[in-house]
Every structure is written in structure tokens, then in C-alpha cells.
Amino acid sequence: MARDARGFAPIRDAESARYAIDRFGRFPKLLSWLVLHSAELPTLSGVIVSRWDLDVARGVEEFASALDSNRLLMRSDSSAESGHSPRGGYLIALAQLEAEVRPLLEQGRIVFLLEPSSPFDDLYSMSLQPDLDWQEWQLDVVGSGFDASDLKRGDVTPHEQVRAHLGRNGVMVLERVVAQDDVFRASRAIRLEKAARMLGCSPEDAPTELRELGETMLLDIQTYRPIPDEALIDTIDDAMGLRQELVSRRLDDRHVAISASLLGYAGRRVFWDIVWPRSKYRIGDE
């Protein structure tokens, strides 16, 4: 299927992302994923779906087939998110995609389907924020089995807080604060409650459900191990590449929050999104 066919746009590289930015730039979350691609940061490939019909369904199946997967990670966006936006980041079986995607499209949202990555299979997830000069960085980190949304949505207290500085000799980690064990244990209980909601079961049954899905990282790793310096430094090094991309696209390079994860035990690094929180939500819209 041609990349510019209406209703369906595969994004696999910087070039296809740049092409899509012109069409979909009004969707901030989608735009940020495209900008990550355009800046050639490690990012999951995916397809943008703006309507649903047989041709689009066939194209999505071809995309999944090329990945040898029968599931895709579903995210969605609207041009003006409120604080009540539906949560994203679900793995959806191909057979259920239409039922999941159509209602979102009917709400005026846009859907992007990414190569499958379980939200319970992240070794570490991070939120990063540079200062105005992109010299000093704050990072919040959660450990295995948690995901970036836990940090972005304030669902749990970070397992580790890091301060780093970009100096003449590269990135230096200046300070680390690791959460106490009781904070970590409380966050695991919250994560299991969240897993239960996502899996449609009771919190008591969540461990069994996760084991049946083979997504056991949250269960297997019961203490927090601080993230290695190298992983922090590599992530910040990559993120530095974003600034020029933002500036060249006349996007605000101040007050951004960036999220990333190390996927699986192999720790494949992927960036999820860049967010300008103040413009993302309608302040005072309660």
C-alpha cells in the first residue's frame, strides 16, 4: 500500500515521518512521535489510521504481518486533549482492532498502531526534562514491569530521581535519589491494580493473568535496581538530538517532557513522545 494512501500511513523511517508531519501536525501526541522519527531517535515503527475501511484494515494486517505479530500497540490522539482523555498504550489483537479503533475515530481522534510492545515488559521507563538551555536534565525513573505512563500520569512515585549535566566531556550524572523500599512496594501494589483494570480482572487475579500472558517482569523482579549510568547517559545523548529538530520545525524547545523506555530484558531503548504539558491540557476546564 502506498504510504500516502488516504486513511493509512506507515511510518518506518525519518523520511516517511517528515512526510506525515505536514498532514498530521495538528495532533500533538502523534506529532511528537513523528518528530522523534524525524530526528532519527530510536522509536517504534507504526501506522497512522485516520479512517477505517477494508483497504485500511488490509494495510494494517500487512504491517502486522511484516512484524510477524497478531497484536499491535494502540495509541490515539486528538487535536485538543482534555484531562479526561482515554488512556492509550494497549496491545490489541488484530481481530479486535476494528472494534477498538472505530469508536476513537468517530470521536474525532486519530489512531496510530505501533509494533507490539507490552506495557508490562519495560525494564526501565523514564521521563526526562531538560532545563531551558538543555544543559541540566531531570529524570524520573521506574523499574521493571512499570511503564512511562506511570510517570507521566502521576500514578506512582518514581523509583529513582536523577539529575544530570551536559558538560565539556559529555553527560555526567550529578545526583541520584533512590526511593525507599516501602515506596517501591506501594508502587507495585498500584501497578497491579492498574494491570487489573487493563486486563479486566480483579487485582488479586492480576498476577495469574500476567503469568498466563507471559508478561512476568513485574512479578519476577521484586526490588528496584538502580538504572545503570550508561543507560541514563545514552538516553540523554539521544534526547539531545531532539533540540535541533524542534528548533528547525519552529516547535517550542522549552518546558518539554520526554519519555523513553528500555524494552525487555535486552533493554532496547525507545522514545515514546515529547510533550508540552501546558499546551496539552485545557487548564481550568473542570
Partner: protein
């Protein structure tokens, strides 16, 4: 004595405020918050952003400095202490509390509801 209750958390947005606490564990209750109150809630969820224009400060049980709601709180100059673990259990609505978003502390100074 309950007047001595102090909780600590992550110093997430600088500034010091003395105001009445409004304890609303769940985001679905946020319509109850009155202008000038310090919102005490469980999570630093995106719904917090919707009331940031009317609260004097933010205290949460969970969340960190880079939760989106907390990033916005900093930009708007709303002091915040997050990740206290127990604030919604320790404080009651109507208490006067002093929030120090630079030190990461919240202290009850009066439990007389207004």
C-alpha cells in the same frame, strides 16, 4: 497531637503557601475544590491540571516531578509536594496547612475547619 502532623515528599514546585486543605482522593471529586485551597489527592493525574488555575497548592500521595500535571504546576507557579505516600490519610478537609514546595514538606497548623 494531630496539630503536629507533618508529611514529607518530593519538592516538586517551589513556593510556600498557608491555606485550607481540601482532601479529595479521587479526580472525580475535583469539582468540590474551592479557589485558594490546597488540593490533597492520591495521584498527580492529568485531571489535576483542570483545577490548577484555582488552587493555592498541590499535595499528592503518588507522582513525581515530571508528571505532566506537576510540570504544569511549576510553569504556573503553583507550589507542589508530591509522592508523600500518606497525605490523603494524614490530612482532613478544612485544616489549615503550610505547604513548602521547596523543602518538600506539608505541615498542619490548625485543624479548625473554616
Amino acid at each position: 497531637m494531630s496539630e503536629l502532623v507533618t508529611v514529607s515528599g518530593i519538592a516538586a514546585s517551589p513556593g510556600r503557601r498557608r491555606a485550607h486543605a481540601r482532601v479529595l482522593p479521587n479526580a472525580s471529586e475535583f469539582a468540590q475544590v474551592r479557589p485558594g485551597e490546597i488540593l490533597v489527592t492520591r495521584f498527580a493525574s492529568p485531571e489535576v491540571v483542570l483545577v490548577l488555575d484555582r488552587i493555592a497548592g498541590l499535595v499528592t500521595d503518588q507522582g513525581g516531578r515530571l508528571a505532566h500535571a506537576v510540570v504544569v504546576a511549576r510553569e504556573l507557579g503553583v507550589p507542589a509536594v508530591v509522592g508523600t505516600q500518606t497525605a490523603t490519610e494524614e490530612f482532613v478537609t478544612g485544616s489549615v496547612v503550610v505547604l513548602d514546595g521547596s523543602l518538600g514538606t506539608v505541615r498542619v497548623v490548625s485543624e479548625q475547619p473554616n
